[in-house]
């Protein structure tokens, strides 16, 4: 697989399988940079969300903690 095809594949993966048109003006390096930024952003969001949920459970009064936990984690 060529480098360009690999970059395209990675970007497609990060964009949920849909790469909108009009990005042809970007270099391979720039496209690769975008893919990295997206991956990092999603990772950061997931981590922050998990941390926030843990912290929230600490704040929720003990009485409500169980039902809230049930909704959050099944």
């Amino acid at each position: 697989m060529s480098q360009a095809a690999a970059t395209d594949r990675i970007l497609k993966l990060e964009l949920g399988g849909v790469v909108p048109g009009g990005l042809e003006g970007l270099t391979e390096e720039e496209l690769s940079g975008v893919a990295t930024l997206l991956r990092v952003a999603k990772q950061r969001q997931s981590e922050e969300l998990e941390e926030a949920v843990d912290e929230a459970l600490e704040i929720v009064p003990r009485l409500l903690r169980r039902p809230v936990r049930k909704i959050l984690f099944g």
Binding site: E14, L15, G16, V18, V19, P20, G21, G22, L23, G25, L26, T27, E30, G33, V34, L37, L38, A41, K42, R44, Q45, S46, E48, L49, E50, A52, V53, E55, A56, E58, I59, V60, P61, L64, P67, V68, I71, L72, F73
Partner: protein, 432 residues
């Protein structure tokens, strides 16, 4: 400017969405604004989808706890960005209840990360007072792009509350970056005339004509006329600043439709402005009109210019090629501006006038019929004949034969005018 998405603004929105600095992805500015917007839309989808399940569960869990506690958890544990991701998943009434317990500063921060399209129902349910307070906070932070994204999702009462706290300059800057430009008309409709006058004065004093003219490009023709008349009612200084900005920033294609939408009195006042009488300005106006097919706009303006400026235009017209004259005829036909065309042609030098006469001679039946009908309505037979007098004898005979099929009254008037002008070939053909 219509439909135009500014690449730097789109880059800023994309950067904010992925938590990057705009400078880190400045290379996107090389792309078309729409391409960046399309990418942002897709990124929005994947950012939400990435944690959709947990976000939905968090939204569901908020139903179990009091709104006040929800607000505390939102502010302390989740922060503005994650709350923004959850907002659209909440029941609107629940979201409003929680928002009541959150500081305005936090809500404004949340707005920076909110995708209004995904939280439209929540935004629509927000009390006007809250929206006004958030708007004031966003204005203080110069967050015009964020504010622009909310227009179209807010209730009328909430929009009015926001308009009350947004100063004229901020309003112009927000309108310029508004996400759904089709809503600008509705926004303008909410503003009283005095406020609109103030905004026009601000466009002049703060040199925000690019922004103001962009707004004028997105309102209805009627609103454009009203706003154009309000602008024309201001001091020369205000209109001169618009002319200077148009000349400096290439905005004539935005100005000309406004001038056309004005009342005849306002248009006349605009045409008499000293600042548009110079040859470089007139040349730029005509270039813009030709480049962007705005000859209908030019035809209603040029005959109103003072004589010296009309002579300048006539001199400029000597360098027009045939295509330009074709544009002029097409505009007169399509927009029913024959009297303006005849007045314009009457001012031209022999060469350009001859080009117009030739195009009339070569026009199809529908065009000629429409021209003759307009001449009949306005009594411009002599003026038309003066243009047709530039045709060769053969041309006059050919066109005369076609005009001879006109209704009797009109035919008699044109024949009389042709005879008075000493155009024998035309007169003969008309009376055959």
């Amino acid at each position: 400017m219509r439909g135009y998405l500014s690449p730097p603004i789109e880059v800023l929105k994309l950067a904010r969405l992925i938590g990057a600095e705009a400078e880190d992805i400045a290379y996107f500015e090389r792309l078309d604004g729409q391409a960046i917007r399309d990418l942002r839309d897709q990124v929005t989808v994947v950012m939400f989808d990435a944690d959709r399940q947990l976000l939905q569960r968090v939204a569901a869990a908020t139903k179990l706890i009091p709104a006040k506690l929800g607000a505390v958890i939102g502010e302390r544990a989740f922060g503005a960005l994650l709350c923004a991701r959850i907002t659209g998943l909440l029941d609107p009434n629940r979201a409003v209840d929680i928002a009541k317990h959150l500081p305005v500063k936090f809500l404004a921060d949340l707005c920076l990360h909110l995708d209004p399209r995904r939280a439209s129902r929540v935004i629509g349910a927000m009390p006007p007072a809250t929206v006004g307070a958030i708007a004031a906070e966003l204005v203080a932070g110069e967050e015009y792009i964020t504010m622009g994204g909310f227009v179209g999702h807010l209730s009328k009462a909430a929009l009015l509350a926001a308009l009350d706290v947004v100063d004229d300059q901020s309003l112009l800057l927000t309108a310029y970056v508004i996400e759904a430009k089709q809503n600008i008309g509705a926004l303008v409709a909410l503003l009283p005339e005095e406020r609109l006058e103030d905004i026009i004065a601000t466009a002049s004093s703060a040199d925000l004509w690019t922004e103001a003219l962009d707004v004028l490009g997105h309102v209805s023709e009627r609103q454009r006329g009203v706003l154009g008349d309000l602008a024309a009612g201001q001091a020369d200084e205000v209109l001169d600043s618009m002319v200077r900005a148009a000349q400096r920033d290439g905005l004539w294609s935005e100005v000309l439709p406004v001038v056309r939408a004005m009342s005849p009195t306002s248009r006349e006042r605009f045409a008499k402005l000293n600042s548009i009488q110079t040859r470089p300005v007139l040349a730029t106006i005509i270039d813009a009109g030709t480049r962007d097919s705005l000859w209908a706009e030019l035809l209603v303006l040029l005959p109103l210019l003072p004589p010296a400026a009309r002579r300048e235009v006539a001199a400029l017209a000597t360098s027009f090629d045939r295509q330009v004259f074709e544009q002029i005829i097409a505009a007169a036909y399509e927009e029913d501006l024959w009297p303006a065309l005849i007045a314009f042609a009457g001012e031209l030098d022999k060469g350009p006038r001859q080009e117009i006469a030739k195009l009339i001679d070569q026009s199809d039946g529908a065009v000629l019929e429409s021209l003759l009908s307009a001449v009949d309505d306005t009594g411009l037979e002599a003026e038309l004949v003066a243009v047709l007098g530039e045709l060769s004898a053969a041309g006059q005979r050919r066109l005369g034969t076609r005009i001879a099929a006109a209704p009797a009254g009109l035919l008699a008037a044109i024949t009389e005018a042709a005879a008075a002008a000493g155009l024998e070939p035309l007169t003969e053909a008309l009376t055959k």
